[in-house]
Symmetry: C2
């Protein structure tokens, strides 16, 4: 399990620091949405690496390097915890981030795996995600660490993110692509499916249509937000009940069409967007 | 028109230098294939920016910055001409590259536009490409510069690259996506369609199926190779007939599944792949 680093400052001071969230792009806003609903008093600073999106098709060492750069930019904004709202980055960069950063790092893999183990009845879990996430085997490892006997069937679904970014959320063509990706998993007999990419909750109705009622869905964004809440409570560094929560969104490239799609689908008020240049190899 | 810069060295010496080709990823290999067929005696060095692919969804200023970094790495390899085998980069970065680089820069837009003007009978040309290419209006500008009266109908097709990278080249689902993108253009009455993305030639049979026989296709990769040949002949810096041509491929991230798809579809022998780190802001 990720080592929880106790903040050096007094808990009351740390409590008012922001939660830092990063993602390869816009998809991580599904985690932000879950955090805002669950922790309305927290300040959240979000950083999306839209200048280099997607991470899911890139090598582990490149994703690791990008993730450290993003996290360091959030640490400079005084983040009390770093949430890796990206399955690709969580899959391959978590050990490096935990070694490098002075605060606790929360990924989306472990909370998702935990929820899947709780949900499955027949012990057969399906996982869908980007190429990087599936190739890493991170969900299999996390699931097996919790239950030796679990059976895992995984599938990379590289077309789902572009379909979501095109805004074809409720669309016959998207339904066909989802059916092609999911049919082999259903034939194998999964009873639980982990949405192992923070974009995928935007396709929830379409995925539910494809699966029918026999398969339970595990949303890694939602479970990650719950894990963050538990951590803040355990460390007693949650923002006080009277505090005014806020959301600040920064991207490494100017926003495009997909930000509009995401804001509408999530009903999320993101205010003004800052564009920040990546600090290459910045010292912490 | 791009200013042709005469090489400083004697033409015989320049002739033996390589042609430098860069792209946001692997798609530019369609240009390399056309160059190899047309100019078999040339040495070609190819650089694909797979660490930051795709360029097509990113802002003009980010694509400009990445393009200059890629071109500088090719200049360091002594390239006698820089071929921008990427429509997104050609659309937005050509002026900056021409200002910055000491050699001639050849993009894919102008050769494609020239071929479309030659091909059209009814004066109505369609253009498909990435979001960055279509948003830039570069094809419209190039087409209008050649013929004031041309009518242009453009459409961004952001799903085609992911479909190609998934390897679904001859596939009913891909046919449906293509039909959705192309039907409005056909209804408007185009008689010529520019494939404004170097990936798209890999979908040539599928696009021909969707269009039927009434619409002529213009492949920007092929026309770019012809323009390179004409330039080398004009400057008398073509490799001598007896020279042994070669191809050296380098990528900024380790290759994935799509390199295999492209090599097979193009029947291209790329040998061993080098992985090179990007030189951020490198001085020329």
């Amino acid at each position: 399990m990720a080592a929880n680093k106790s903040p050096a400052r007094p808990a009351t001071e740390t409590a008012s620091q922001p939660i830092g969230v990063f993602d390869s792009g816009i998809g991580g806003l599904t985690v932000v949405k879950a955090l805002r609903d669950l922790l309305p008093n927290e300040k959240i600073v979000y950083l999306g690496d839209t200048a280099r999106v997607p991470y899911g098709s890139k090598s582990a060492s490149t994703v690791e390097r990008y993730s450290v750069e993003m996290a360091k930019m959030l640490i400079e904004q005084d983040a009390k915890i770093i949430v890796v709202a990206c399955n690709s980055a969580s899959s391959v960069a978590l050990p490096k981030l935990e070694k490098t950063l002075p605060v606790t790092v929360m990924g989306v893999i472990r909370p998702g795996a935990q929820a899947a183990i709780t949900a499955t009845r027949n012990g057969h879990v399906g996982v869908i995600g980007t190429r990087a996430t599936i190739r890493s085997g991170a969900y299999e490892k996390a699931l097996r660490a919790l239950d030796d006997d679990v059976r895992v069937t995984s599938r990379a679904c590289p077309l789902l993110v572009p379909l979501i970014e095109e805004g074809w959320l409720d669309d016959e063509l998207t339904d066909h692509v989802i059916a092609r990706y999911l049919e082999p998993l259903m034939r194998e007999g999964i009873d639980t499916l982990v949405l192992g990419c923070t974009h995928y909750p935007l396709l929830l109705p379409a995925i539910e249509r494809a699966l029918g009622s026999g398969v339970k869905l595990v949303d890694s964004a939602q479970n990650c937000a719950v894990a963050v809440q538990e951590f803040l409570d355990r460390q007693q560094v949650r923002a006080p009940a009277g505090a005014v929560g806020s959301l600040e969104v920064a991207l490494t490239d100017s926003p495009d069409n997909f930000l509009r799609v995401a804001k509408e689908a999530l009903q999320l008020d993101v205010g003004e967007i800052r564009v920040r240049e990546v600090l290459y190899g910045a010292a912490l």
